[in-house]
């Protein structure tokens, strides 16, 4: 990926009380880039999905552990990266939430939704955590 045109970063403690702040931060940045209402909804859904996972699964809601959200403006769209400091996980082997035995589970759909809604999802397992990035392309008017 080429160098971004502009970047911003938000760091929050691992508490669900901060999830709205993440949405507001990314929505403000994406709105300035000209995304329409529909795309803004997709972006909000996906970033809150990944940050919830970082808070709940990676950090077990230990609020002193930071979750980092980076947004980047590119020629062709917006890139959002969520970084945690948890044990990491294998994104290829998460159970399929659409299979009959999992269909009525309360949880397990976040990663599927991000993959379905975003143009490119990159999951990287680091030495000290997980980094998941997605890209939302501009739709030519």
């Amino acid at each position: 990926m080429t160098k971004p045109l502009s970047t911003e970063q938000l760091v929050i403690p691992s508490s669900v009380d901060h999830i709205e702040k993440v949405d507001e931060f990314v929505e403000r940045f994406a709105t300035a880039l000209g995304f329409d209402r529909d795309a803004l909804a997709d972006i909000g859904i996906c970033v809150t999905e990944l940050v919830m996972n970082a808070i709940v699964h990676a950090h077990k809601e230990k609020s002193d552990l930071p979750v980092q959200v980076d947004v980047e403006q590119h020629d062709s769209g917006l890139r959002v990266t969520v970084r945690d400091h948890g044990p990491g996980f294998d994104t290829e082997t998460v159970p399929d939430p659409t299979s009959p035995e999992n269909l009525l589970d309360d949880h397990g759909r976040g990663i599927l939704i991000v993959r379905a809604m975003m143009d490119d999802v990159q999951c990287t397992r680091l030495d000290d955590g997980m980094q998941i990035a997605f890209f939302k392309r501009f739709v030519p008017k």
């Binding site: 996906c46 999905e49 939430p97």
Partner: protein, 112 residues
Amino acid sequence: MKVKTSELNGIYVVGLSGKIMGGPESVQFHDAMKQALAGNTKRVIIDLGEVEWMNSSGIGLLVSAYTTLKNAGAEMKLARTTDKIQSLLVITKLNSVFDSHDTVESAVKSFG
């Protein structure tokens, strides 16, 4: 998310609004469901018309309400499902599980 409950011809209607993203306010939805069960309600409509969007936390709330109600012998219908939520139901294959209606009135009529 905001949660508003009302009653319509003996049907318990739960109106949701705003963004449903898994913040602390999810408790309000669970409380509304507990209230429905405590009142021995057999028919519940979840009105989604004012929901801006929801992530998997919102979908999880709907599934948990559906199964809890079903286990209690009650029925749940969705009303005014937005295009955004409908596309999430298709992605998650829950469109085959939930009974969705364009209006609250048609959801009301659909109860046998």
